[in-house]
Point group: none
Chain length 304, copies 2
Amino acid sequence: MAKSPKISASHEPGGLIVHISGLLPSLSPAEQRVARLVVSDPAAAARRTITDLATAAETSEATVIRFCRSVGMDGYPQLRIRLAAEAARRIEPPDARVVGGDIPPGADLAQIIATIAFNDARAVEETAEQLDPAVCEQVVEAISGAARIDIYGAGASGFVASDFQQKLHRIGRIAFYFPDVHTALTSAALLGRGDVAIGISHTGTTSDVIEVLEQARTRGAATVALTNFPRSPITDVADFVLTTAARETTYRSGATASRLAQLTVVDCLFVGVAARNRARARKALEATAEAVQSHRVGANRRRA
Amino acid sequence: MAKSPKISASHEPGGLIVHISGLLPSLSPAEQRVARLVVSDPAAAARRTITDLATAAETSEATVIRFCRSVGMDGYPQLRIRLAAEAARRIEPPDARVVGGDIPPGADLAQIIATIAFNDARAVEETAEQLDPAVCEQVVEAISGAARIDIYGAGASGFVASDFQQKLHRIGRIAFYFPDVHTALTSAALLGRGDVAIGISHTGTTSDVIEVLEQARTRGAATVALTNFPRSPITDVADFVLTTAARETTYRSGATASRLAQLTVVDCLFVGVAARNRARARKALEATAEAVQSHRVGANRRRA
DNA sequence: GCCACGGATGAAACTTACTTTCAGCAGGCG
DNA sequence: CGCCTGCTGAAAGTAAGTTTCATCCGTGGC
């Protein structure tokens, strides 16, 4: 036994494949044939049955088992699983999707999907990373204690504002959203100390939203700005500034990345508020879910 | 695909786990127990023998096999290998953020943010992975050639529907969204061959949306469903099925993950449509951007 | 309320895959 | 030349995976 009673650790930490390659010369001829097959295409080997692999290596099943033991595995099934895992790991990481990049003219849909998803996911992750928990905490506290919450947003950001309003409403907070500037201004004029006003604007330059937020601030409400640009005008009228981290999206992406980033922030605030009073929030959510139940039809189909 | 000449394809190239999550509600109770075990710890499942897994799921081996078939595998060994590969691919996120998991009661805001962002980003990525480009392509083609596009969605999905409508409108496509069922039904009744109707429902069980989509189909329009559950009722009335891959979100997350996933799909379709006629789309977008310019105030501040 | 039906389920029979045993055989050495 | 040693595959044995089938349970029709 040239190979074994040694305490050289059947460790093989990094790569099983590498480990096998290293052991190759110390294996018997028949086992080497098996090893070569395995090393050259681990994924394919993982798919084969032991008989299959034995045949391919022009040897018997017994030899394959011996090979498994030689490389430190308990048996063939274990080897198979390890191989599958190895093979999966060494799959090329996503190709050259330029972050924040444009979509090349010749791109097919699969590429488009990959690029968009990559950028969208990145926007969400990066937004979360740069969010200041301390500021969030303060905003959550303000919202939790507010008598009333006004949320402003125009265009695309209006969707997010509306979403936020709905969320807060569902857990029993008094929140409003106004699709119309004039109504919003009127409402802002009625805010006072103890109320909260939230303005959402990706660019931070939407005059309508800024104006309304400013009005709210004058009246003594705590103002919150949600924007992608920490130095944009909207931040001048905000007590608390929360920023998203969507890279400047090209016109083609439809600005969805910024939308997703905003929604993520909104979700964080929402969950933060809900967490402050679990019992009440849970109850409210269950009640609202119950309410739409009659508008749902039977369950999913079984089988194919 | 035993069910209809549907174009939705048992695709699942990206994530097997995700695929299983989506199918979960369409599985029988015993199979669901198996599925939950598998989803919650794929790596562990891969290590188990079929008998072992069956015991853990408090069921018989036969059910495990049935489960394998239900999710599109040939048998248990194949599932095992795929599972091992999947598990290896997803480099375990360092800390204990349970995917799709609940937020622990004691969590501070920083944890909440991290958890939410992680789940949201994952939903976006996984949705993109399992999207079938071929189906997308067909939908894009249908939209591009449509005389008119109706988009339906209720509640949270209504936001997405509305967003989609606005996007298409911005690049000069004739698209409509109806917040009200009656109006929607009326509109659907006026659709015909060459028109496209798109129904959005996370659960796939929203009767209002299904009803309207069915009406549209009867009138000869091409129907598209966007849902998280590939076997849900809405897919019965759809010519094309597009699925999102948001894991079942806990009540606390406010279902934002599913929203983001839907938006991502919508964005892909939008970009796909826009890419079909770059010049025209670009021009339209520039014109619309121009239009809101007067509602923007001066640039961002420099310095601190 | 009863019955027929269909789907879900696990026990058991069955098949296939994996593992062990063992005898043959090739090469090396006295 | 004969014996030993270690490699090897055939075949036996065991465990894992798969199929079949009887039972059970809920549903809807009469």
